[in-house]
Each structure stands twice: as structure tokens, then as C-alpha cells.
């Protein structure tokens, strides 16, 4: 039942979605087919699916570690933006240079940028017991404003016809495509490798065990000598670092520069991915592909049945609602109640 409930949730979401969108005057059946099935049935959509799944999977992997330990980092979007900003800083400083080291340096900056942004809520929670839920979210708004400031001000491309955007990254600063002319970039295999590593750490090491114990039984964890503070630090830094790396990959991949349109909400959608994946690293790969499908399918449905772009977000939220409701199936067994005689 533990692994069946995400599948049941996807099925129920398709059913409810059909009714809701039919009631709203759209071709509901067609919309649901385009959002949940078409992206997977048409092989020419798969590269796009991978490109959208990679950042979702990377961010969700980090978030899931925290959620397991009752550390609620909901500011991944801000850490994602900060990672992109830090990496872009390196890119702008090395513009015109060539060398194999440039991209790794940008990636490192991305990780550090995301970690630094997540370190603020970690510090405030560990040292001062300030809820990381509110601080991490508030910092998202701050990061987005910082991005606006940079692309409109100091980092604006002088040859960009006054558009608020940075210079395009050079070839040495862009993620290599996995095949000539393909959308598929290095970020996709990297996300898969990180998922495997995360699975190994969570399932096979004492550190992963500590995270789970702190989340499930804080008193037992204290008794067993596991430090809740260390777990809080580790999970926020892991979440921030992975979100930062995902942000840098997005900047150095599909975007190739920073623009005000950069924050696309992957940091929030990744929360749904983490839950759909049952907070399990391998499940998260599945969840990432399903949610990537809603983005790709949402775009298809925009042209086929004129569904507004916002419908994608509603489908995603609906999925999380239904998933949380079907979780009852995991915790309880449905049975017939014997009538009292």
C-alpha cells in the first residue's frame, strides 16, 4: 500500500481533473490526457521531460532529507535562485576565458550560494529556535528581489538593448548537451547519480538512519546520542546545496543567462515531488518525471484545448491534496466495522 498510494493519487487526480475542467467549460478528458499521458506516449517529448525533471528531482532530494527529520525547508525556490546568482557571478567574472575548470567552478559557486542561503534558517533554528518554515520562505522573496536588482542594475548586459538580463554565457560556461543538437544536458545524468547517492546515504549509512530517528522519535534520538542540531544543519545545507546546484544548472543550461523570468517555481513544485516520491530518493525520480509531465503536458494542453497555463499549477496542487488524502490508506486498513449487538 505504501507504494500504491502515489499511483492511486495520480489516477484520482486525473478523474477529479476531468470533472473540474469539464465543469469549467474545457474539454476535460482531452486536457487530462494531454497533461498526464501525451508527454509519456510521444518519444519526441522525452528530452523536454528530462530537462524539466532534473531540477525538480535534485531539489526534492534535498528537501526530502529535511522532511524526514521534521525540518521544513520551504524556501528551496530562494536557494535555487541564490545558487544561480552565485554561479552567474563566477560566469560573469570568467567571461572570455576558456578552460575545463570554469563550469565546475560555477557549479561549486552554485552549491555554496544555495547552502549559504539555507544556512540562515539553519542558524536561526538551531541557535534561537526560530521556525525554519517562515524564515526560509521569507528569504525566497528576498532572493528574488536580489535577482531583479542584479539583472536590472550591475549585471545588466551593456549590449542587451536595455533588456533586464545578463550577458549570454559562453560555450565554456554552458552545460554540454548529451548529443549534438539535443536539449538533453549534463544535468539529467547528474540528477540520477545524486538520487542514487542519496538513496545509499539514507538507506545504508548511520547518517541516514540518524535523520530518520530524529524525525520519527526525537526522544529516542536524544537517548541514542544522535544530535538533532547536526541533523537540522545537515538537512538544510543538503537541501540548499542541491537547490543551488539545480539553479546553476538551469542558468547554465536552458536559460544560458539570468533574466527576471528565471524563478519558475521549481522550488515549490519540488515539495510535491518529494511527497509523491514518498520522501524516498528513488521514488522522487518517479515523482519528478510525473510532475515534469504536468509541465510538458500543460504546454500541450494550452495549444490543444486552450487550457490556461495556471491550470498546470492547479493540477499539481490537486495531486498533492489527493496524495495526502490517500495516505490514509497507508496508515489504516479499510475494513467493515462490526455492528455492536
Amino acid at each position: 500500500m505504501l507504494y500504491a498510494s502515489p499511483l492511486i493519487a495520480v489516477g484520482l487526480t486525473m478523474l477529479i481533473g476531468t470533472f473540474v475542467f469539464t465543469a469549467m467549460g474545457y474539454d476535460g478528458l482531452h486536457a487530462v490526457r494531454d497533461i498526464f499521458l501525451t508527454p509519456f506516449l510521444e518519444p519526441q517529448r522525452w528530452p523536454d521531460l528530462g530537462v524539466k525533471a532534473a531540477p525538480l528531482v535534485m531539489i526534492a532530494l534535498g528537501l526530502a532529507i529535511g522532511f524526514r527529520a521534521n525540518v521544513w525547508n520551504i524556501g528551496a525556490e530562494g536557494q535555487y535562485v541564490m545558487g544561480a546568482i552565485a554561479g552567474t557571478g563566477v560566469a560573469l567574472a570568467t567571461h572570455g576565458l576558456t578552460g575545463w575548470w570554469i563550469l565546475p567552478a560555477m557549479a561549486l559557486a552554485g552549491v555554496i550560494g544555495g547552502m549559504a542561503w539555507a544556512a540562515i534558517p539553519a542558524f536561526l533554528r538551531v541557535k534561537l529556535q526560530v521556525s525554519e518554515i517562515l524564515t526560509s520562505l521569507m528569504l525566497t522573496y528576498v532572493a528574488v528581489q536580489a535577482l531583479y536588482y542584479l539583472v536590472r542594475g550591475p549585471w545588466k548586459d551593456p549590449d542587451g538593448f536595455n533588456f533586464p538580463q545578463t550577458k549570454m554565457f559562453s560555450a565554456a560556461q554552458t552545460l554540454p548537451a548529451m548529443a549534438e543538437g539535443s536539449l538533453v544536458h549534463l544535468g539529467i545524468p547528474v540528477a540520477l547519480v545524486i538520487a542514487l547517492v542519496a538513496w545509499l546515504v539514507m538507506e545504508k549509512t548511520t547518517a541516514g538512519y540518524a535523520v530518520k530517528v530524529v524525525g520519527l522519535a526525537p526522544a529516542a534520538a536524544r537517548h541514542g546520542g544522535f544530535s538533532a542540531d547536526k541533523v537540522t544543519w545537515a538537512s538544510l545545507l543538503a537541501g540548499g546545496g542541491l537547490a543551488g546546484l539545480a539553479g546553476l544548472f538551469e542558468a547554465a543550461g536552458p536559460f544560458g543567462q539570468l533574466t527576471p523570468q528565471f524563478p519558475t517555481g521549481y522550488g515549490f513544485t519540488a515539495i510535491i515531488v518529494a511527497f509523491l516520491g514518498r520522501l524516498n530518493p528513488l521514488g522522487i525520480v518517479f515523482g519528478g518525471v510525473v510532475l515534469a509531465g504536468t509541465y510538458v503536458g500543460g504546454e500541450i494542453a494550452q495549444t490543444t484545448v486552450r487550457l490556461p497555463q495556471a491550470a498546470t499549477g492547479m493540477f499539481q496542487a490537486l495531486l498533492l491534496f489527493v496524495l495526502l488524502a490517500t495516505d490514509v490508506l497507508v496508515r489504516y486498513r479499510i475494513g467493515w466495522k462490526a455492528r455492536a449487538a
Binding site: W72, I74, I120, L124, L128, Q129, V130, S131, I133, L134, T135, L137, M138, L139, Y141, V142, Q145, A146, Y148, Y149, R152, G153, F268, T269, I271, I272, F275, P308, A310, A311, T312, G313, M314, F315, Q316, A317, L318, L320, F321, L324, A325, D327, V328, R331
Partner: protein, 307 residues
């Protein structure tokens, strides 16, 4: 002349503070009953779009406010059913509610982008032409007076009435309250209904009074600031009033700086101010000599099932 400027700044301050005060007051009651609803922002957005859609189609802001109230309650009920009846995780469900509110409001609002309506008018129009002092006291709209009256009402209800005591008992120790025979789940449903109504109304204040036109994610994270205010207020209605008006002052200062063309700081830095102020306030609360957190309802965020 200067008094006229002061009055106009005061009016802006009151208007900016009112929606956060309403949303935070609703959440305070919810949290006093032991439930953490992180979906305030989502409920506000559905209230905002429902209020705007109805006000636009009927031409009546009053009907818009009622619609927002109903939409707020309906959205909050989704949260209530999931967390209370199906004992889903409150944090995850609250987040889902916010993501849902952003998506649903943007979907419903797509047809209304850029449309405008008549702004919610003052409760006593005669007062506007009078003495500046009269205007400062009586020149606000009905929701402002309602929010102030509700602060008193909630404070009285929680501290001076028997049902208020029961609600607090449910939030402090749900198992004991249940054992004495109080209906924990029913009381929490009632609290969430109240919170949803106020958050819906708060959202409609954005779309009907502050900016009488529709734009996506109109509430811009104010629902989250309301959640932080409850912590700042240490779950006390009177302090909530103080906190909401302090935040209103920060936001008014931002607007005034922008309007005056102050260029010492870039506009993005001013836009960061409310969020940074929230973090600062939360930090100061925990630095205080008597930690405000000690006042948090003991069962906050914990699911309850009677068995």
C-alpha cells in the same frame, strides 16, 4: 497642509495593516485550537479572486466581500477535512493549500486580468469632507472597523468566555479535553472555519480595497507575514494589533519612499523590507528575556484522533 499629508499617510497605514490583521487574527484562533494552518496565503488568494469576480459581475463590493468569506471558508474546509478527518500532516497540507490557492486564483482570475472595479468606499462618506481629525477617525471603510472590533471580540472570547476556555483547552491538551468530553475535532473544525472566513476577507481586501483590479499572486506573501505575526504576538490578540500596524508602517514607508523618489536605496531593497523585517521580528522574539514561544499552544500542529 501638513495635517492633510499626515492624515493621508495614516489612511495608507491603516489600509495596509488591515488585511494582515484580519488574516493573522483568524490564524491566531486556529492555532489556539492547536492547529497550524500554513495555507493562509492560499485561502487569501481564493478569497481575493472570488471577491473580485463577484464584485465585477454584480457591481457590488458588498457581494464581493460575502463571496470572499464563503470562498475562504470553502478552501479552509479542504484543509480541515484532510488534517482533522483524515489526519494528514498539517504542514504538508497547509503548503498544498497555498500552492492550490496560487494556481486556482490565477486560473479563475485569468479572465479578469487588468479589469478594474469601484473601490470599496468609506463607511461614513460624510466624514471625508470634515476636519482632518474627523477623517482620520471616521474616514475608513467598513472592513477596517470590523477588524478592530474583531480584535476586541476575539480577545474577549478567548479570555473571558467559557467556549473560549474550551477552545484553548483543546489547543493545550487535546487528549485531556477529549477525556472530559469536549469534541476536539468539532471545535477545531469551528476554529478553522473562522480562520478561513477571516483569511478570505483579508484576501478580498487586497482585490476590492487596496488595488481594485486583478493581478496574479496579488497578496504577495502577506499570508506568510500574518503567520509570523501570530508568533510575534505570542498568541495574544492585543499584541497582534500592534504587530499588524507596525508592519503596515513598514509597508507604508516603502510606498512613501517610492513615491518620493528616494534613490538612496534601489527599489528592490525597499521591496525586501517587509520580508527582512519579518525575519528580524521572529529573531527578536526568541532573543527576548521570556521567550514568546513558551506561550505557544502545547498541541500546535499535532494531529489528534480519538481512540
Amino acid at each position: 497642509m501638513t495635517s492633510a499629508i499626515l492624515v493621508s499617510i495614516l489612511m495608507t497605514l491603516v489600509a495596509a495593516s488591515t488585511p494582515i490583521l484580519l488574516a493573522a487574527l483568524g490564524e491566531l484562533v486556529v492555532e489556539k485550537a492547536g492547529v497550524l494552518n500554513l495555507g493562509v496565503e492560499g485561502v487569501m488568494l481564493t478569497g481575493a479572486v472570488a471577491g473580485f469576480a463577484v464584485a465585477y459581475s454584480t457591481g457590488s463590493t458588498g457581494a464581493g466581500l460575502v463571496a470572499a468569506l464563503v470562498a475562504g471558508v470553502a478552501t479552509a474546509m479542504v484543509f480541515a477535512v484532510l488534517t482533522l478527518s483524515l489526519t494528514a500532516n498539517q504542514v504538508a497540507t497547509g503548503l498544498a493549500l497555498t500552492i492550490f490557492g496560487i494556481g486556482a486564483s490565477s486560473l479563475i482570475g485569468a479572465g479578469f486580468v487588468g479589469r478594474t472595479i469601484t473601490r470599496l468606499g468609506p463607511a461614513f462618506p460624510e466624514a471625508l469632507s470634515g476636519h482632518p481629525l474627523l477623517r482620520a477617525v471616521l474616514g475608513h471603510d467598513i472592513v477596517v472597523y470590523l477588524s478592530l472590533a474583531l480584535v476586541l471580540a476575539v480577545s474577549f472570547f478567548l479570555n473571558r468566555t467559557r467556549p473560549g476556555l474550551i477552545l484553548r483547552a483543546v489547543g493545550e491538551n487535546d487528549a485531556s479535553a477529549h477525556a472530559i468530553g469536549y469534541r476536539v475535532i468539532a471545535i477545531r473544525y469551528a476554529a478553522i472555519t473562522f480562520g478561513g472566513a477571516l483569511a478570505g476577507l483579508a484576501g478580498a481586501y487586497f482585490s476590492l480595497a487596496l488595488t481594485p483590479m486583478w493581478a496574479d499572486s496579488l497578496t504577495a506573501g502577506r499570508g506568510w507575514i500574518a503567520l509570523a505575526l501570530v508568533v510575534f504576538a505570542a498568541w495574544r490578540p492585543a499584541r497582534l494589533l500592534l504587530g499588524a500596524y507596525l508592519f503596515g508602517a513598514v509597508m507604508t514607508a516603502e510606498l512613501q519612499f517610492k513615491a518620493a523618489g528616494v534613490t538612496v536605496l534601489p527599489p528592490e531593497a525597499l521591496a525586501m523590507a517587509p520580508y527582512l523585517a519579518t525575519i528580524a521580528v521572529l529573531t527578536m522574539m526568541s532573543l527576548g528575556p521570556k521567550s514568546g514561544r513558551a506561550n505557544a499552544p502545547a498541541c500546535l500542529g499535532k494531529p489528534f484522533s480519538a481512540s
